[in-house]
Symmetry: C2
Subunit: 348 residues, 2 copies
């Protein structure tokens, strides 16, 4: 029953020709006679021949596989991103090898090792929260394995990346709040060293300046994104003497927790306190107190663009012209989405 997969040699044996002829026949090589081609292709189909990719990978030093390393598959942002990655890779006949770092630097390193030994052609990486040391990426460079970072970008020179410009989105968000009459606006930001956090703060500062409002650093708090810390950070903001009437929150999940906290304090959402956040997750449609607006970061698109970029790097590499020291830095503009039909505004 052990149905051996047919090989090119087997076909050659049956037809009394050489393996090289079979190979060329299957590739429609011009130097093979029509009769032979036909015979080969017929038998190949009959035997259900399929080339052994592992042999080809080995021989060609190319696996048509890209590795994806990201913190958490079950987070909506990343699952949308990987969906975009997989779709794009699939269209280009690449497959996707996956690993999640769970935000641990150690695991990230190990995954990169595994992927390297699997000889992925290239990597897409969204780095772990806790990663401080970037040696493992440097080593990839030495071995000429291209990497495109997306969303969570390390602070390294000479890298390719795709990211969303959060500055513009943040400015839009602040402008929106100011137009609504808010003057004291807090920011519940993520971990300080994330570029994403820095951009949010940068946007915040710029927007305040443009609106001729004073930038008050005490209104910006950083925290990691665990529920406890979010509660604490929200508490901190709400207990300030200059108490904000609106808070811009790191993302929709965090906003849910912040809202939760505020409600426990008997604050009326959208009256006593307003929230604006990032991500624009579809679930917000259904939540009791969605943020008034959310900055869309287009994860699917980011995944897609990152994949396209990587594939381009790979094709340049194949065609020999590698030395080009240009680095792709692709910035998507974020986009503030204002929520209509806020359920909380409706009658129960």
């Amino acid at each position: 029953m052990e149905n051996k997969l047919p090989t090119i040699t087997e076909i050659a044996r049956r037809l009394n020709i050489s393996a090289s002829t079979v190979s060329r026949a299957l590739h429609n090589h011009s130097s093979i006679g029509l009769r032979t081609k036909m015979r080969v292709q017929e038998l190949a189909k009959e035997l259900n021949y399929e080339p052994n990719q592992t042999a080809i990978f080995f021989q060609q030093r190319k696996t048509f596989t890209i590795g994806v390393v990201l913190p958490e598959l079950s987070e909506a942002f990343f699952s949308a991103a990987i969906s975009g990655i997989e779709d794009c890779a699939y269209k280009n006949k690449y497959t996707v090898l996956m690993g999640q770092s769970h935000d641990s630097e150690e695991k990230e390193k190990q995954i990169i090792e595994t992927m390297k030994s699997h000889r992925v052609d290239g990597l897409l990486v969204s780095i772990a929260n806790k990663t401080n040391n970037y040696d493992h990426f440097e080593s990839l460079k030495r071995y000429n394995i291209p990497v495109v970072f997306f969303d969570r970008i390390p602070d390294m020179p000479d890298i390719h990346y795709v990211a969303c410009n959060l500055i513009s989105g943040t400015i839009q968000a602040i402008n929106f709040l100011i137009k609504k009459g808010h003057r004291i606006i807090g920011m519940l930001n993520g971990p300080e060293k994330l570029a994403a956090s820095k951009e949010r703060e940068e946007g915040y500062i710029q927007a305040m300046k443009k609106n001729r409002l004073k930038f008050d650093p005490t209104l910006v708090v950083n925290c990691d994104l665990s529920t406890d810390k979010v509660y604490a950070a929200t508490e901190h903001l709400l207990k300030l003497k200059r108490k904000p009437t609106a808070i811009v929150v790191f993302n929709d999940y965090v906003a849910l927790d912040a809202v939760q906290y505020a409600r426990r304090q008997k604050l009326r959402i959208n009256k006593d306190i307003c929230f604006v956040s990032y991500a624009n997750l579809p679930i917000s449609h259904y939540t009791a107190f969605p943020p008034m607006a959310s900055v869309e970061q287009f994860p699917y698109l980011q995944g897609q663009k990152a994949t396209e970029t990587l594939l381009e790097l790979l094709s340049n590499k194949d065609s020999g012209q590698e030395g080009t020291n240009t680095y792709y830095k692709i910035i998507l503009e974020s986009q503030l989405v204002i929520k209509e039909n806020n359920i909380a505004d409706q009658v129960l």
Copy 2:
């Protein structure tokens, strides 16, 4: 700059010994002298040697890769499942190749082909909604590539699978509703041919019987899960002469839409009409009108169990004893989770 990856042959050349000795030294083979071992391992470390997996895969006819095929990566259920799969695979030194069918049979077939040619050691599959024909799975069997299905199980004999027993969960759900005083209970079910739909209906029927209530088939409607169809199905149920006071809905997402529809009809949720659903998604905590209860299906655990099962099949295969015609049919019990702290019950 083109830093060639070091090979076993390179190490052998430098040390003036043979490649086979190097190979054995690196594997700590007992027949290699201590001195030689040391020298080899030292140089290997110095050169940062890493075995070329593609060569090993090729040689050993084993890739330490499992393929995962599922409908939609960005759905919470599947992203949790794949998270479990990846974690479990990683622990056992396997990597995960991914493909999403987007519920298309055609794409599912193509992905299976790709994975076959990538020589994955085995597959984990949750089948596409629209898959009717199972030939592509039969062919895997012929080639002795083990498959473990999870969650969405095809109606085939002699397969391995991991699934959640929804009957018990459904019975719990109905019992819960009956205890709350409901007598006319509707069911908004998924596509008829899904085993998951059948189980829900089966549970519904059993629960009604046990409670000595008449089973009224008109109270059960099937629909695909698009928003439009859900609206239509909800409308249908709510316009019945024997109008239900509670509805058991296919999953939390669908429940959100059903709730949406009911509210547009000015129905008061949890008063005029109650909902119970499946999945127990964390977002339900934050939604305005979460179902009163939800049947947890443990996606992460399912992924994990499915992976463990597959790995066991693989290790049996390696140790030669394949013929065993036993099929793993692993059933997890689902679990009704009753939502406390229903936001809708609270004061705005």
